[in-house]
Amino acid sequence: MQVNEYKPKIVAFCCNWCSYAGADLAGSNRLSYPAEVKVIRVPCSCRVNPMFILRAFQRGADGVILCGCHPGDCHYTSGNYYTRRRMALLFSMLDYLGIEKERTRVEWVSAAEGAKFAATMNDFVQTVTALGENKRLEDLRCKK
């Protein structure tokens, strides 16, 4: 086994009403997911502005995942529908600029889906680990 295994930095924006509770449930059910995932709680997935995602990459994230309520279940009725459109366009644009599309993801996780949260995070960390360090959207000033 390699000693200095590469550990990616992952930022997970989680909506307060579903996904954050889902993460909580994953914790209380003792489902493990990698410690590299840093969860940021937002009132709604719709609160996440494209700048937040770019900013996370600037500050050294290797992958950014956005979790919200399932479409139709938004606490604010329709927030996540807007998220869905915005992120579809943003991710497509990032891909267009040649930035690896696997580094960004949107996943719908309800408060009851602790297992899905853990599985999603495990899968996402694995994907990003395979990609290696974020080089295309990095700000060298923020690197060591």
Binding site: R59, G60, R141, C142, K144
Partner: protein
């Protein structure tokens, strides 16, 4: 005077690049020139001038000044200045060479700006005479001769050869470094080219600007001119003119927090921007008119006031071709100075 065949230009560049970094104007994929680091295979552009000016070499668009580490109430100040490397800039036009003199008067006056000074000290300027000036050129209005640019070395390019003449000690040193490649020659071809350029310059449309109407002590005359309203009325407030201008030297000092330390950097700023003079309690230049006026008054009156009548414009024509709405210093001069003089 020394000369070298154009076919051996790469050899000359390679020789210079042995000792120091060499920058030459290079065409991009769209045919616009920019100064790039020379390396084997990089070809010099034939364009008259680069889109950006050469001021970048001494006053880069962005540079880190110092760093701070903060911990609790403590601050540590880290001086990150380093000894700069020698470098050579090849193919600087007469207008841009003159712009260095204008920048020098700002940055090298007391207190000396060490960031600028250390680059200025290390740079060798090889200027190139303008064989084919463009219609937007008006350097000769400011007393600049495009046929004999200043610089450490002056170069002339003919159909077949490149002629080199050193003007300073730095230039002599560089010429002696490439002595084996060049041969001694007379200045017949150069004199011919100079004559030809002088003839062309006479035909350029913007040579007789009413410069005598501007300069020292004219603040009161123009500051409240009603013409500013119309001149500035469609200004977008972008920074294009400022950023392509070889003599614009205003800068901003800002902090960037990297998460580990704070980097204090400076970057070009534009007096055309609405936040240029913005303070917590308000802005002393409230509308685009005041900002627009500041830019041109600075070039034509304020700078000459503080610098023995020297104008802060070199007539490179970049703002003429780059302004999104085609508003520029020539139009300002003509409008304020009276069209009958042109």
């Amino acid at each position: 005077m020394r000369k070298i065949s154009l076919s051996n230009l790469d050899g000359l560049f390679a020789k210079i690049a042995e000792k120091s970094k060499l920058y030459i104007p290079v065409d991009d994929n769209k045919g616009f020139a920019a100064f790039k680091l020379w390396a084997e295979g990089v070809k010099m552009s034939n364009a008259l001038n680069t889109v950006r000016s050469a001021k970048d070499f001494f006053f880069p668009q962005m540079e880190n000044l110092m760093e701070f580490k903060t911990e609790g109430k403590n601050i540590e100040i880290i001086d990150i200045r380093e000894e700069k490397e020698d470098f050579v800039v090849f193919g600087v036009r007469a207008c841009d060479v003159k712009s260095f003199e204008i920048l020098d008067r700002v940055f090298l006056s007391e207190p000396v700006d060490s960031y600028y000074a250390s680059r200025r000290e290390k740079g060798v300027i090889v200027s190139l005479a303008c064989g084919k000036p463009a219609e937007t050129c008006f350097c000769s209005a400011f007393g600049i001769d495009p046929a004999t640019p200043a610089g450490d070395i002056t170069a002339w390019k003919t159909e077949t050869d490149l002629y080199l003449k050193a003007n300073t000690e730095k230039g002599e040193k560089l010429l002696s470094q490439v002595e084996g490649l060049t041969e001694d020659c007379d200045d017949k071809a150069v004199e011919e080219q100079k004559k030809a350029i002088t003839e062309i310059v006479k035909k350029l449309p913007l040579q007789n600007l009413p410069l005598d109407k501007f300069g020292k002590g004219k603040t009161k005359e123009y500051f409240d001119s009603p013409e500013w309203d119309e001149l500035s009325s469609h200004c977008l407030g972008c920074g294009t003119c400022t950023f392509v201008c070889p003599t614009c030297q205003c800068y901003d000092v800002k902090d960037f927090n990297t998460g580990r330390e704070v980097k204090r950097f400076r970057c070009w700023d534009s007096c055309m921007y609405s936040d240029f003079t913005l303070m917590a309690h308000g802005n002393s230049r409230v509308s685009q008119k005041e900002r627009f006026r500041q830019r041109f008054m600075h070039k034509l009156v304020y700078y000459p006031d503080n610098n023995d009548g020297l104008f802060s414009c070199v007539g490179c024509g970049r703002c003429l071709s780059k302004c999104p709405i085609s508003m520029n210093i020539v139009k300002v001069m003509k409008t304020l100075g009276g069209k009958e003089n042109v």
